[in-house]
Amino acid sequence: MCLAVPALIKSIEGQQAEVDIEGVTRDASLQLTPDAKVGDYVLLHTGYAISIIDPDEAEETLKLLRELSEAG
């Protein structure tokens, strides 16, 4: 129910965006993420972007995962 998937914003018109999810284009409302820009990835939940994915944090988490698995 709280499922949300990463979606890439391709274009924005007002509060509506066109997003790409694995090659499929969908409409998404940006009412909950007014700061989202073209090129951002957002978490899309029932047609609404609920969060802008932070690429730096994503990279940090991957780095942490690698460090933890190496440290054992």
Partner: protein, 363 residues
């Protein structure tokens, strides 16, 4: 898919599991609050891969499952009114109420339509100005802001035939209610990822400080979940519970301010009726009187009749973490995904459906 595949690396997963195996010694019962986590944990066979001293327990984080029969009866009664179109997320229409379901009501002539988004429900209202279009508003803090946005959009566009039956619920108070019941002795909680994308991680602080239970907000890929379990193990072994975010690409400690503002504009906190738990104060979202013209509960007169619970169904115990699906006498016998008796078998993220689909097999 970007931001997905990276978090499914099996080699990294194997090494993280080894790390958890090596570091986890104390017996620990961990609750994954969210039904989405239950499904992900089963799908990736994580229960079997974790050390024996770690027990995973499903929580009440499935909005369809926790909808009380009495509330479902209201939705069905609304659907039987003339000139009404009921719009709902898919799973809800199959959940049995006291005497019927939205699906049965539809077979008997009610106009019940499945929508993917509240935006679709608004579009149906726009296209059918002579009908009253009622959206059955279920969901936690992840979904509630989207419904709030739809109400504000209806006001902006002067759509006068759009209504919401708000059955929305909020998570931290039900976590507290479950802990206060004292039926499950938890060492840690995997906090819901997308609820937290909205509310942040601060609302869970009381769990670590008052109940001394470890908390980690998790994403939904296997490495996200293992990272959260690693954090919980670290907290449990060190005896220092806190709230960690293991899903930083999607969750900020303070949450999503514009979404919280929208939710607070339209809704106010009130009592909610939880299946298996009953009425819990301050655990639901009701439409503020300023927006009462969109509130289905205030604009329609219905008689939903007396509430009956399905005989033999132990969904309530399962939602509180007291029982597991195989302990139910109906499980796999009379209760299956094709013929569900209770909501935990209807919703794809219900515990019963997850146990039925994935069993204890390692995928």
């Amino acid at each position: 898919m970007k931001f997905v595949e990276e978090y499914r690396d099996p080699e990294l997963g194997k090494r993280l599991l080894e790390r958890i195996q090596k570091r986890s010694h104390k017996p620990a019962r961990l609750m994954e609050f969210c039904g989405g986590h239950t499904v992900a944990i089963f799908k990736h066979g994580l229960r079997q891969l974790l050390p024996d001293n770690i027990e995973m327990l499903s929580g009440p984080g499935c909005p369809v499952c926790v909808t009380a029969s009495a509330d479902l009866d209201k939705a069905i009664a609304l659907g039987r009114l003339p000139d009404v179109i009921i719009t709902s997320f898919g799973d809800m229409i199959r959940v049995p109420g006291s005497r019927s379901s939205l699906q049965k009501a539809r077979a008997e002539g009610a106009d019940v339509r499945i929508v993917y988004s509240a935006q679709d429900a608004l579009a149906i209202a726009r296209d059918n100005p002579e009908k009253s279009v009622i959206f059955i508003g279920i969901g936690f803090e992840t979904t509630a802001p989207t419904i709030a946005a739809s109400i504000l959009q209806a006001e902006q566009e002067r759509i006068k035939n759009y209504y919401v039956l708000s059955l929305h619920k909020v998570c931290p108070p039900i976590m507290k209610a479950i802990l206060d019941l004292g039926e499950v002795n938890l060492g840690g909680i995997i906090c819901p990822g997308h609820v937290s994308a909205i509310i942040g991680s601060h609302p869970y602080e009381f769990i670590a400080s008052d109940y001394k239970i470890a908390c980690a907000v998790s994403g939904f890929e296997p490495l996200d979940i293992l990272l959260a379990v690693d954090s919980l193990v670290e907290q449990i072994e060190s005896g220092q519970p806190k709230v960690e975010i293991a899903y930083r690409r999607g969750v900020k400690p303070e949450g999503n301010a514009p979404a919280i503002r929208l939710m607070e504009t339209v809704f106010e906190i009130g009592e909610a009726n939880w299946r298996g738990i009953g009425p819990v104060p301050s655990s639901g979202l009701q439409i503020k009187s300023r927006y009462e013209k969109y509130d289905a509960a205030r604009n329609f007169t219905i008689d939903p009749g007396p509430t009956l619970e399905p005989a033999g169904c132990i969904c309530g115990n399962i939602l509180r973490g007291v029982s597991t699906p195989p302990e139910c006498k109906l499980f796999r016998v009379t209760c299956t995904p094709e013929h569900p008796v209770g909501p935990c078998m209807v919703s794809s993220e219900g515990s019963c459906a997850a146990y039925f689909q994935y069993g204890e097999k390692n995928i």
